[in-house]
Point group: C2
Chain length 284, copies 2
């Protein structure tokens, strides 16, 4: 039986860290402000929004919601971003994506001030991740994976990590973050040959394809640490990861569950980034 790398204690640890920092900021008269920017009424967005609101509330972070009509124009979204940029009571902004398909999403992302881009969606933030520079914020999901690895003391130096999925939300940024910690990183994707064999050879596997239970027993080997980043629904409507947990859990050394794994930590990382953004305004 694998060790279960639950998100809960990581969430609790982050909450504890944040608690003191929010209090220190309050002493200086600063209330952390989180902007949630949503276009339309997609159920996924609404669900994440509710989670973020609750979490923020419990931590003393103030939430400002902006909801735009699904038919909003490019200029309309960029005006909302400008408002966020200009509002000193807002320290960080989470914009739900994808935006409607007629919108130039990258232009919107790049309009967000780097110091308020707490989910690493702007080119400047991603450049910093690529270049190992300490400014801006990394995408929250990638940062959440790093938090989980560190919380459970998974050695990264010299470890061989296979990352499956090459998105800018998780695959590429986490590859850079792991590389910075001296891991050897293999980036895989849908065109990788003998994917199962490549995965089996790794010390750590990060699964980030967004396909329900696509990774079965043949992709894993004993003692591996498996991070399952997927948040999918199966045919029965049940929440599940990219990994077939029931099949894989008996084989590997440690694995994050879904739900209750990386996803739960991601929201906490978002809050930590808001607090960090607020702190940076005081030291600037």
């Amino acid at each position: 039986m694998a060790k279960r790398l639950a998100g809960k204690p990581v969430v609790e640890k982050i909450a504890e860290e944040i608690g003191g920092r929010v209090a220190s900021l309050a002493d200086k008269g600063i209330v952390c402000g989180l902007s949630l920017l949503r276009v339309g009424e997609r159920p996924d967005d609404l669900s994440y929004e509710r989670t973020a609101e609750k979490r923020a509330e419990s931590l003393g972070i103030e939430v400002r919601k902006t909801v735009l009509d699904e038919g909003v124009s490019q200029a309309g979204i960029e005006a909302a971003i400008d408002e966020v940029n200009g509002d000193e009571s807002i320290h960080g902004c989470l914009m739900f994506r994808p935006l409607p398909s007629d919108i130039n999403e990258q232009a919107v992302c790049d309009a967000l001030a780097t110091e308020k881009d707490i989910d690493g969606i702007s080119s400047a933030a991603l450049a910093a991740v690529f270049m190992d520079r300490d400014f801006g914020f990394a995408p929250c999901t990638a940062a959440a994976c790093m938090r989980v690895l560190d919380y459970y003391d998974v050695p990264l130096e010299g470890a061989h990590v296979v990352v499956v999925g090459r998105s800018l939300v998780i695959g590429k940024p986490i590859a850079m973050m792991l590389l910075r910690r001296n891991a050897t990183v293999t980036l895989c994707h849908s065109r990788t040959k003998d994917l199962a064999a490549v995965m089996r050879a790794a010390d750590i596997v990060v699964c980030a394809t967004g396909r329900a239970r696509m990774f079965k027993a043949e992709c894993f080997s004993p003692d591996q640490v498996v991070l399952d980043v997927g948040i999918n629904f199966d045919e029965a409507g049940k929440l599940c990861g990219d990994v077939d947990f029931d099949e894989v859990e008996p084989i590997v050394g440690a694995i994050t569950p879904v739900p209750g794994g990386i996803g739960s930590v991601t929201t906490s990382v978002l809050m930590a980034h808001v607090v960090e953004a607020a702190e940076r305004t005081t030291s600037a």
Copy 2:
């Protein structure tokens, strides 16, 4: 005996392509302008400068040299960059690096206008490489490796490429460029465990560590394609790559020599980027 992936035919092909494009630009009254910006008198820089000047001349590209004193200030270098940015007769700029250690090099790189940054040194250009966006220019050495692979019809889709070295000049950007072409990419470095075994398992190996002849026979296997990006001098003062060519060449399927390999193509790519930059000004 391995197939020798010489740079010469690649250089000739690029020169041929450029020839027609320089002529078309001339028809529109545009002479391609290349700025070479150098601080101090480092022999490496002088040597690369001479090569670039000669190559530019032979292609009808005009060179403007700016030489700053080694003791130049941050403001002094940035003023030189501003001049390049503002000069319409200059389409691209190559700045020799590293800059003196008291200079904030990244700030200087980021001061260069993205459209004139033909060696991909600015954060914006590197972000574009990371994000697979088609603007700016990739670092020339990484682009030269891609040119060589394509010239010799090395299949990239699904190929497993091991890149040794994680610099922003070559390792990281070429990893992204290969990933975009659907290769599976492993990024290795000085802390990689069992490096030789990892290298032996690859279809293509890119060696970019800058250590003279550090890669011996044990790092390679039959049929591999080896790109040697190193430009080093051995104890005897002889130019050599990162790969021990004499030892490795009999084993692998194909290999780039040093000299006469990637390095020679890099200068050509720089020229191609200047021409491309000049063309972009006409379509803007």
